[in-house]
Every structure is written in C-alpha cells, then in structure tokens.
Symmetry: C2
Subunit: 260 residues, 2 copies
DNA sequence: GCTATCGTTCCGTCATGTGGAACGTTGTTC
DNA sequence: GAACAACGTTCCACATGACGGAACGATAGC
C-alpha cells in the first residue's frame, strides 16, 4: 500500500481494512499514548492510514469533544471528557474502592510510594498510586501496564496464579534482548514468594519494590499492593519495617474484601 | 441509588440520524454512567435506538475489548481498557500532577476529605480526591461533574471568572424545582469569596465544604481545592484551622504552578 | 401450557465512510 | 525574493458497511 520505500517501525498495521469505529479508537489510543499532542502527519504515519481518513475521524472526535486541536500548533490531543468516561469505570471497581484507605495508611506509615496493581493478561495494571512526599522520579503511571514478571506486584500475583508458568514463558518470549528473563530462576522465586508471603523486584534501576498479594475469596490473588523506594534509602531495618506494614495491610484488606 | 435510571426523560434523542461513531460513544457514556451493568433493552430505551443497532455497536466494542458481557446475566459493562485510555489523559494534566503532593499533605493535616476540581463549562469536574480515614459517605466521585454554583470549589473558581454571572443564570435556569438557585444572593456571595479568599457550601446535606482557588498565572482560577467534612465534626476552631491550612496550601501550589 | 419480553440474527436498501488527488498554507533553503 | 517541500484541508466518485424492520430463539412469568 505504501508508495514510499521505508516506513519506520511505525505501524500497528490496523490489520485488515476496518471500519470507522476501530480506527477511531486507534486514533484515541495513539493520542493518549503520546505524552505530547500529535500532529496529523504523525498520526497517519503511526496508524498507517490515509491523511483524509485520519482527518475525518479527528473532526468527528472534536465534534464529540473527545479531542481538541491546539489553535496555534494544530496539534491534536485527547480531552478530559475521555478521562471522565474512563473514570466512572474505575470508581465502580470493588478492589480499587476497598484499597483506597489502606493505601493511604500504608503510604503514611512507610513514607514511601505505594501502588495497587491487578493482573491484566500477562501484565500488571496500575490501578492506583500514592506517591511519597520525598522527591522521587518514578515513571510508572496509573493506568499503565508492565509485564507481570518484571515487577514485585506482578510476582506477588503470579505466585498464586495457576498459569504462572505460561505467563513466564510468554513474557520471556516477548521481551527483547536487553532484558532477558530467566524462567527457571523465576519459577523458584515464585515458590519462595508463595512461602514467605511477599515479593521483591527492581524493575526500575535504583528502585526496590516490595509487594504482597491481596488474598480474598479463592486461592488466587485479587490484586497486589507494592511499596517502592530508592534503593539507597532502604537498609535492612527499613526493609523489615516495610514488609511488616505491607503484610499487615494486605491481610486487613483481604479480610475486608472477603466480607463484602 | 433507589431510582437510578430516570426512565421518563429517558431520551437524549441523539438528535439527527447520526453515524456509528457518535452512537458508539453514546453507548459508552450510557454504560459508564450506570452504576451497574446494563441490559440491551435498557440501553436501547435510554438511547432511543434500534435493538439491532445497539447490539451491533456493542458487538464491535466487545471485539475491541472496551465492553464486556456478563456470561450469565447478559448484561453489558465497560472494561478497564476504557479506563486505561482516559487515565493517560489525566496523568499528563499539569494541574493534577502538581496538586498530588499538596492534596496529600492537606488531607494529612486536616484529617478530612480533600478534592481537586477544575471548571468544565458551567460545572466543576472532580479531578482528584483523597478521602478521610474516618468513616464518611460522600458520593461525589472522581470524574463526576456538579453545577459549579452548588459547590464550594465551584464558587471559589467562579469568584474569579469574568462570566460568573452568566453561569449563575444558566445554572439557575437549568436546575429543577427542588433546589432553587438565588442568583442575587450568590452574586453577593461571590464578591465575599473574592475578598476573603475562600468559599463555603453545603452541597450535600450534613456536609460542609470549604474551598480556595489556585490563582496561578493570570486573573482566573486554574482550579480549586476543597475540604469536606461532616457538619457536626467542624466547630468554630476546626473551621479556622481548615481554612488556614487550605489557604496556605493553595498559595504554595499556585506559586509552584506559576513557576512551571 | 401459552404469552410477553428480551437477545440475537438476517437481509435489502441506501447512507456514509473511503482513499486518491487537487488545493491552500506555512515555513525552509538557496 | 523565488522555488520548494511538508503539512493540513477539502473535494469527489465509488462501493463498503451501517441502517432498521422483521423474523427467529431463548427465557421467564402467569
């Protein structure tokens, strides 16, 4: 289809010739994934669609108030209306609702950044986060995904998942060269996690994470809570304290969720 | 929750015969507005569309993973993927980013529920909230809208808005019988708010709210922070303390935002 | 058992989305 | 200052895909 020789790794070929709706969401996904507003040409290139097609879709989205166009630069970005749409989904989420108070308290007693994650396929999804008042520069954001085996929260959940092995293998296969995944070692580690009740990881360099699962109703983990801190801030004593608070928080929360 | 679905005024006539995309979003909006999963018939009635049309749209959304169908009940609901889409919008929002730490601190020192709102048309939009650890039963949720003149946060913003009068009038006209809006009294009140720097309201019965604007860059309020508490918990002394903390928090935040 | 309601599928018609190409605008280079 | 390039927008003939009525199946209620 392309008359031009080289298309960078742009695509996401939108596979077959699809209809408006899938393309509309592809546009929105592209827009929301980009940190800055995007130009039309960037979108067409990213999506592999015609200029006129993308333009028409954008015009429709602007009419619906889901997209706005910067008057000067002409760049497009998603509006808060899109956020409103999604926000109503999560406020109904039972885990998120139940966790809020516990996260707040755990953040207070540890002084570090705490997160709530659930499993989404082979990834973990960050449902909520309360950042440490002390300066840090984490980049994991609420609503983002990370392959489960890379994070403490993911390990805590996988340790109680029947298909953990498959997840490890799929993730190992899917991850590029620089970050190899040692499936055998992780299998052993998950066993340890299951025994001692919490997981550790260092997904981001210089940051250590501790996480424990929320074991409510059934043998699988409904979610996990994690505490993240700069490695140099956590000595052995601090580690002990964090884990203690983490485990008691998760136990309390599991009890409450179980009662619902 | 009792009468959650307003049957009589059901429509939202979708005006003219529109295309797929607007209707698709209408479906999503209806789904996310409803606290519980919806049946197909409820959706068709709510939207005034044909069964087959809604069904087709839902099938498309399910294929895109934005909607799921409960296997037993057959009811439809939006998935977390929709939330993910919107979540990325707000994490880029400068106000929300800047406010996070301040909200947390304000929640800590007051012990009450604090919220961050911005103006959206004639409404305020709840961007963030940190709930009080003590038991309360507020129902304003993140991502929801409320007519600005009804809330403390809205008054704080309107007090510095050039078109405040118009907002008051439109809102008074739009609001039904039970909750009348006294435009004249509110006009006077906005003047007071402007002078003393904070606003008060009792949008929900038994709950008092205090709010102050974030005056960063320019004469208009970029946002407002509010503190809400059960009326019986706030005596004169507590009121003073809350307002003091509130004003200093907003001033600090405005300074930081202005520097960005 | 029969009937009312709901969800799903089918299909002929026609509205609408489609992509190429032409046009207008901005900003960069020599 | 002219020529060019990249980008955004508009236009149009064509056929794809959306539309809604109706028919079909499956439940639940009386």
């Amino acid at each position: 289809m392309s008359t031009k020789g080289n298309e960078p790794m742009s695509a996401e070929p939108v596979s077959t010739t699809e209809g408006v709706v899938p393309r509309t969401f592809a546009v929105l996904e592209a827009l929301t994934r980009s940190p800055e507003p995007m130009r039309l040409s960037a979108l067409t290139l990213r999506l592999g669609l015609q200029k006129s097609t993308v333009h028409r879709i954008l015009a429709g989205l602007i009419g619906l108030d889901y997209v706005q166009q910067n008057a000067e630069t002409g760049c497009y970005s998603a509006t808060l209306k899109l956020w409103e749409l999604g926000a109503n989904v999560i406020t109904e989420h039972p885990i998120k609702r139940a966790a809020s108070g516990f996260l707040q308290e755990l953040q207070r007693v540890t002084g570090e950044t705490v997160s709530l994650v659930i499993r989404a396929g082979d990834d973990v999804l960050y449902l909520d986060k309360m950042i440490s008042p002390r300066p840090i520069r984490f980049t994991t954001r609420i609503g983002s995904r990370v392959p489960a085996p890379l994070t403490a929260g993911g390990k805590a959940i996988l340790a109680h998942a029947p298909d953990a092995q498959a997840v490890l293998e799929r993730t190992a296969a899917g991850i590029g060269g620089k970050r190899r995944l040692d499936v055998a070692a992780l299998t052993v580690e998950l066993q340890e996690v299951r025994e001692r009740g919490y997981a550790m990881a260092s997904y981001q360099p210089g940051v250590v994470g501790f996480a424990a699962p929320i074991m409510a109703r059934g043998p699988e983990a409904a979610a996990a809570i994690s505490v993240s801190a700069p490695a140099e801030r956590v000595d052995e004593k601090g580690r002990q304290e964090i884990i203690e608070h983490l485990l008691s928080t998760c136990a309390s929360m599991a009890e409450q969720v179980g009662r619902l």
